[in-house]
Amino acid sequence: MKTPTRRTFTAGLAAAAVAVGLAGCGGVTVGNPGSDDTAERTQKDSYRVAYIARAQVDSFAAWLANEMKDEAKDYDDISLQVFDGQADDEVENKMIENAVANKFDAIIIQANNGAAQQPYIQQAVDAGIVTITTNPRVDGIEGANSVDANPYDQGGVVAKLALEQVPQNAKVVVLNGPGGNFHSTQRRKAWEAEFFEKRPDVEIVAEDIANWNKDEALTLMEDWSLANPQIDAIISMNDNMAAGALEAVKGKSAFDGILAYGVDGTPEATLMIQKGEMTATALQNAAELAQLNMKAVHDLLTGAEDEVNVDIGNPLITKDNAQKYVDLYKKAGLITQ
């Protein structure tokens, strides 16, 4: 029994090593001069598209990368290669440089840090490559295109709902994403303008960064719930952190009925909303982002469009409509039962 188990896992590890190695080889082709061809795009039978994902360890980024791969299969003339930016500006910048050097026809970039990637994205545009920034959009690059969700609206749509639901003189805690992260700061701005400024009776008893992570939010909420016997609502800039905070007060009668708001509409949050454990979230639909990205890149490459800048919607998920999204996730295989 012992030997086969060990063999299986060792074989799995070896396969993973090969996969990692192959992925690395695909991404690191150096020495090719970047194209300076800025002439009009010529029609081709097939196009090579690079998608540089922020980080495969980020569950949303991984979901988006998977959706991109699936969506690309619908286009016979597009060959998509996905690269992992490893949540590291240096790595992500190198990936963009390599994609330019490898003369991809188009590059879709999910920036780790818009400001850090901006000069490299500019290089891609200057090299005459179709360039799209997505989740988040990187502004201020002439000639670049974008497909994004609007993070302010995502936060705002949930904040407006909370305006009606959070009780008078409530005490709330706030969980933020990584410091300086565009989506986190925009969502927090929306909460400030759409909720806190309109509800001066509400007191923030604790606020901190949990880096989008469930375990960090869990630890923070364990401590906060001891220091503050009354917490009426958890206001989180994403669903992972909201779910972690709820885990900390699960089963504690003093926090029965606590409200919890997130953003992303992850499968976990959708299930929790369906069960009445979480209150609401705004969906950031990776499938829709992928569809729009692939349509945009195809239209730009074939000359059907000269410029594309679009946003996906931010549908609100509450207990009333959660079933619809649970079904959607079941169909996508992201919820298995």
């Binding site: 188990t5 569950s59 469930k214 375990d215 364990e222 401590d223 001891l226 499968p267 976990e268």
Partner: protein, 344 residues
């Protein structure tokens, strides 16, 4: 030596004095700090890191290091969760988590002990492989709806949280292994001076294999508790945990040069970090300031520990009046503080 035994040697207990100071200081800063609920809360929170820290301590004492602990923890934890979801068997799930941890560490051990590859490079490679494997296994998605699996991380036995009980049990086992067994003495000897250990007839490679297996068991258990605590199989879990796991033993007096370290010191180091995080959360200190304070206190604690032991070394030399022997024994701070080390 006789002179030393006659007086209380405060430097030997410096890390525990620091722990006591942190505890007393924290109790003045927040009225909630001393509550039983909060103390149990701290134990629950430090369980995973402390278990990983014992594995890191074992390897560092043996002159090795493990940079793959965080990634292997995620791989083991997620594998365990997936097995539980398929079989609904808690025992099998835990065993699979441990098996994954051990399997990864056996690969490390083979490359380090048999092929003599530096542990730093080997475990760095394993970190990438394990992370890649768990991401491939899950396609980067969280595994949800764990059901009764959460008992391990969130359950209580009487009033005591299960992770805290597991931590206490593991502490006792690791203390016993390191202090009362031939295996423990072998680890200290190999880490202290590998060539001397080999000359003394110790099977160095075998000791290294065993140290990695112990680490693998601990990493596997930590993975199971972590996933159970957060009620999800998170493939991105444990990023940076390898460094946190190394921090606790180093604060607790384990020497990076090997051969020196104690279980109690590692526990104290982990508790210092845990208590600091806890009191800063209770008092509403923001995460940026928390990082500054944590860094400052860690550096101060280690500097004080090293400084106080240097003082003891000088005292020992002066008292003995013979430069050669005591200087050799005291050159490595803390070497004389550890019975197994001196025993070998």
């Amino acid at each position: 030596m006789t002179t030393k035994l006659k007086s209380f040697d405060a430097s030997r207990y410096s890390i525990f004095i620091i722990l006591a100071l942190v505890f007393v200081g924290a109790s003045f800063l927040s009225p909630n700090f001393l509550s039983v609920d909060n103390q149990l809360n701290v134990l629950r929170q430090v369980a995973v890191i402390t278990i990983l820290a014992y594995g890191a301590m074992t390897l560092i004492i043996g002159g090795m290091i493990d940079l793959s602990a965080g990634a292997v923890m995620a791989f083991a934890g997620v594998s365990s969760v997936m097995v539980y979801k398929d079989t609904q068997s808690l025992l099998l799930a835990v065993l699979v988590g441990i098996a994954v941890g051990v399997a990864c560490n056996l690969v490390n051990a083979f490359l380090v002990a048999t092929l003599h590859t530096p542990a730093f490079i080997v475990t760095l490679g394993m970190m990438l492989m394990a992370r890649g494997a768990v991401l491939e296994l899950t396609q980067g998605q969280n595994v949800l709806q764990l059901g009764d699996f959460v008992i391990i991380g969130q359950g209580t036995w009487g009033w005591a949280p299960v992770p805290a009980l597991v931590l206490l049990l593991i502490t006792a086992v690791i203390w016993y292994l390191m202090n009362q067994t031939r295996y423990g003495r072998g680890v200290y000897a190999v880490g202290g001076n590998e060539e001397a250990a080999r000359a003394a007839g110790i099977a160095v490679a075998w000791v290294k294999y065993k140290a990695f297996v112990v680490n693998g068991v601990l990493v596997g258990i930590a993975g199971v508790i972590f996933m159970s605590r957060v009620n999800a199989g998170l493939p991105n879990a444990g990023v940076g945990y390898e460094l946190q796991a190394i921090t606790a033993p180093i604060i607790g007096g384990t020497s990076f040069s090997g051969g020196v370290g104690t279980t109690a010191g590692t526990l104290a180091g982990a508790l210092i970090v845990g208590l600091l995080g806890n009191i800063m959360n209770l008092t509403g200190v923001g995460s940026y300031i928390q990082q500054i304070v944590m860094g400052l206190i860690i550096v101060t604690a280690v500097a004080y520990d090293v400084w106080s032991k240097r003082g003891r070394t000088r005292t020992t030399i002066l008292r003995s009046g013979r430069r050669g022997e005591p200087a050799a024994a005291g050159a490595d701070p803390g070497a004389t503080a550890d019975p197994p080390a001196s025993g070998t």
